[in-house]
């Protein structure tokens, strides 16, 4: 009987590493996709921030599978490839993750409309943070219209990203129940 119990305990507390790796792979692919989307003339210089949508939704619904290292690497790789201020993206993403974790319960209980508004503020805060850092380091203010366009495009695409991640979340819950 004792052996049987320890067997079940082992099954309950299995490693979350494979799912974390899967999430990291998906996140990094999204960063690359973001870069690919930037090649469309309409998104020139202002590709929607797909990785931010992913991070935001994942922290709310699958925070366990979204370790801080994944967010760090998504940010750094984005910085490397976009040749942005190295570490600027990573810092802003991690700060957002930290603030979100402090308000996690409230966010999890919010409906979609509230989440969308909260995401709009988060997206604006991330862009503003990067803008302030960029301006401080370069002593120059870049053109604001591409940044505003990027925020707008990201906000428009948020419901699609949310729907996809929420659908996966519900599916996983159903699988667990079965």
């Amino acid at each position: 009987m004792k052996n049987q119990r320890s067997y079940f305990e082992k099954a309950d507390f299995q490693s979350g590493l494979p799912l974390q790796l899967l999430t990291a792979t998906l996140g990094l692919t999204l960063v690359l996709l973001e870069l690919a989307v930037a090649q469309w003339p309409v998104f020139y210089g202002s590709a929607p921030n797909l990785s931010l949508i992913f991070i935001y939704c994942m922290i709310i619904y699958h925070g366990k599978h979204m370790p801080i290292f994944t967010i760090f690497f998504m940010g750094i790789i984005g910085d490397f490839l976009l040749s942005d201020l190295l570490g600027g993206r990573a810092t802003s993403f991690m700060l957002l993750a930290y603030v979100m974790q402090l308000r996690l319960v409230r966010l999890q209980q919010s409906d979609f409309g509230q989440l969308w508004i909260d995401f709009a503020f988060s997206c604006a805060a991330v862009s503003l943070f990067q803008l302030l850092l960029f301006s401080a380091v370069n002593f120059a203010i870049p053109s604001l219209s591409p940044i505003l366009f990027q925020i707008g495009a990201t906000l428009i695409l948020f419901p699609i990203g949310y729907l996809l991640i929420f659908a996966v979340h519900r599916l996983l819950q159903k699988v667990k129940m079965i």
């Binding site: 690359l32 870069l35 801080i68 490397f80 190295l86 053109s143």
Partner: protein, 304 residues
């Protein structure tokens, strides 16, 4: 909350803080332009660029498809436009031949030196600027093809930018629209020198033009060749707007449709490109009296 949970939360907060600290420090290290960091950046680009290329393939396919549909829809109008353009080009060609011959004769008289020959190498733009903070593109050739920092990148329309980082198989080009790009230019019709400064947007700013210069809307802006990094005579753009003393230039190249470009290799002999800080390279002499401090003041406090 159990003790083990509390410890885990504390541990995760410490890791969170350390990672934020690391990425925050990276910002300043990155700006310091350390060789090791530059190599790391280009090494990672060399590794990631082929993956980006693969991920981009379906996106490029969709773009080509949309472009194809649009082209078919406007085929008739395009044909009429092209015929008109062809007639115009024929006239321009005849004019160019006359001017070329005249130029050759004048050069033989004045003994003007021709621009040092540079070899163009064609490359594909692997990425496009994705954010509002940096306007750079990765191109599909690197040091193995002889690319060096400082080589200009051009298309048939004009200057695209300058190579700032070189990896083995990939290089990064700083577009002239980037906020850190400063290109010494001249106005084509009057030859007044100035500096084209990127704004991380659609247009460039034309700065440091002498007060006597009176640029006209639509006037061509060319590279002046000052500094020796860029050859002279490359089209940079056309004057688009003059408002409150600010001169806006529309780049000659449409960066939104930048798929292929040529890198002009060579011509950098005697130029130190190991620390190519464009801002330092092209900073012109101050022209404003207030920035000259005590220079040229006489005993009564007046300038000569």
């Amino acid at each position: 909350m159990r003790v083990s949970d509390k410890a885990r939360v504390r541990q995760s907060r410490i890791v969170h803080g350390v990672l934020i600290l690391i990425s925050f420090s990276l910002m300043f290290l990155g700006k310091a332009d350390l060789a090791a960091l530059r190599n790391l950046r280009m090494g990672s680009n060399d590794f990631l660029a082929p993956i980006v290329d693969i991920v981009s393939a379906p996106i490029r396919g969709i773009e080509t498809m949309i472009e194809g549909v649009r082209t078919v829809a406007s085929l008739r109008a395009e044909n009429v436009r092209l015929q008109g353009e062809n007639d115009l080009l024929k006239r321009w060609r005849r004019r160019a031949e006359i001017l070329e011959s005249e130029n050759r004769q004048l050069r033989s008289v004045t003994g003007a030196a021709t621009v040092a020959s540079r070899t163009p190498i064609t490359a594909r733009a692997v990425t496009a600027p994705g954010g509002g903070f940096a306007h750079t593109v990765l191109i599909s050739i690197g040091s193995e093809k002889g690319i060096e920092r400082g080589n200009p990148a051009v298309t048939a329309d004009g200057l695209v930018g300058i190579v700032i980082d070189v990896g083995r198989a990939y290089a990064r080009v700083l577009l002239i629209s980037d906020i850190n790009a400063r290109v010494p230019v001249i106005l084509a019709s009057s030859s007044w020198p100035g500096l084209s400064v990127g704004q991380n947007g659609q247009f460039l700013d034309l700065q440091f033009l002498p007060d006597e210069a009176k640029p006209k809307i639509g006037e061509l802006v060319l590279t002046s060749g000052h500094g020796g990094v860029l050859p002279n005579g490359l089209p940079v753009g056309r004057v688009d707007q003059i408002k409150d003393g600010k001169i806006r230039v529309r780049p000659a190249v449409d960066f939104r449709h930048l798929n292929y470009l040529s890198v002009l290799v060579g011509g950098l002999d005697g130029i130190d490109n190991s620390n190519l800080d464009l801002a330092d390279f092209y900073t012109p002499m101050p022209i404003d009296d207030s920035t000259r401090l005590l220079e040229g003041l006489n005993s009564s406090g007046k300038r000569k």
